[in-house]
Structure formats: structure tokens, C-alpha cells
Point group: C2
Chain length 128, copies 2
């Protein structure tokens, strides 16, 4: 691994949060977790890889849907414990079919309001 | 607490990551953690509050520096376990004086490259 990356602070489980942002629109697409291997694979391949805590395994974002994310830049915060990855998103980031996973907005006294734009029908991509 | 917020998934420590984004420029400013109380205070006051894991206490962002964040919107991701808070930032988000905490970018074969813009000198704001 690149020696600069040795200074990153992974948590007790060996993970670091990675915020994924659309490099052209600036839209925040998702947040997921990387371990060292996911970060290495991301840098080696230029496509985001994460570590799934629920499935306990490495995953290539888009491995099922084809909705991969091409990495444009990788930044780190002042405490070296959060990553910001700017990407070109193929298709959409969210498995629910929205371009961004943050498609619901809080509004006092109402339901969560859908503010995101839907790009695909999940059952057509993942089967259903 | 607003009943909609009961569906949020706080982790085993009662915390949820909150990504803070500049509502006008789209710049990602920081990521910090909220517990239920921090989220309630954020919604009540319209200024971001977080829970500090190192100091084990609630804090108002900007309580020392005056660099508060006025909340413009609050969104949640598909898994209901990450928040996205859009804000109007007073001053700068980073205690190191940069507008965003993500002021260092990875470049292969070089040092971390400073890509963020410095807004203030920390020793003038926090003493030194």
C-alpha cells in the first residue's frame, strides 16, 4: 500500500467511512465502509470497492447492477479517519433506483419527502 | 422526537454518521457523529450539534470558533443509517483553518496534496 495511506485511521474493526460524491454535480451519492483491501482495490482498479459489514465481504460497487463508480479523486479529512471519493457514477448509486441514496428529506410534521430522482426500476435490474 | 426519526438506525453506541455539505457550493465539509440528543438539538436550534466520541459529550459546532452551521435540510440514506445535512457554513468547517475538512487529496507517488482553501489561521481563532 502507498505509504501515505498508512497514516489513515481505520477503526477497531479495520474500517474507515468513505463518502462518495458525484464529481460533476457535487451530489452526495452514498456512504459506505472500506477496509485496507477495499481501498487498495479501489486505487488499483479505479472503481470503488467497499467492505460489507452485513455480508462480511469485499464488494465491487455495481458488481450486480453494472452501476460502477469511476474514481476521479480521493481526499481525506483533517483527522485522517474519513475518506471522500469523487466519482463518475454509471447508472445510479442507490439500489432502490434513485441516483443518490439520500433521496428522502426530513420535513417537520410530514412524511419523509422524496426529493431524489429515480433513474431505474430496481426489479428490472436486480430481478424481483 | 419526531416519530419519523424513530426509524433511523443508530449504531451499537447510539450514534449515526452525519455528512455535512455546503448547501450552496455542494462542497462536502466534514463528517461527524450524532446521537439522538445531538439530532434533536440540531433540529430544535437549526445549528448542527454532534456527539464527540473522544470527549464523550455533545457539542455545538462552532461553540469555540463561532463557525456555526445553519441547517438548510436533513436527508437520510436508503438504509436509514447515514444522515446528510446541508448547511450554510459561517467561517470555515475545519479547525485547521480550511473551509472543508477534506483539504488533502491523494496523488500517487507524492505527498498528500493540499487542495482546500485556507480561510483563517487557527491560532488566531483558538489561541495558540
Amino acid at each position: 500500500m502507498d505509504p501515505k495511506l498508512a497514516s489513515l485511521k481505520f477503526d477497531a474493526n479495520g474500517l474507515i467511512p468513505a463518502i462518495v460524491q458525484d464529481s460533476s454535480s457535487g451530489e452526495v451519492l452514498m456512504m459506505a465502509w472500506m477496509n485496507r483491501e477495499a481501498l487498495e482495490k479501489t486505487l488499483q482498479t479505479g472503481k470503488t470497492h467497499f467492505f460489507s459489514r452485513s455480508r462480511n465481504k469485499l464488494w465491487l460497487k455495481g458488481e450486480t447492477s453494472g452501476h460502477v463508480q469511476h474514481v476521479k479523486s480521493l481526499s481525506v479529512d483533517c483527522d485522517a479517519d474519513v475518506l471522500l471519493v469523487k466519482v463518475a457514477q454509471v447508472g445510479a448509486a442507490c439500489h432502490e433506483g434513485y441516483y443518490s441514496c439520500f433521496f428522502r428529506q426530513f420535513q417537520p410534521g410530514e412524511q419523509w419527502k422524496i426529493t431524489g430522482r429515480k433513474v431505474f426500476e430496481p426489479e428490472r435490474v436486480y430481478g424481483g
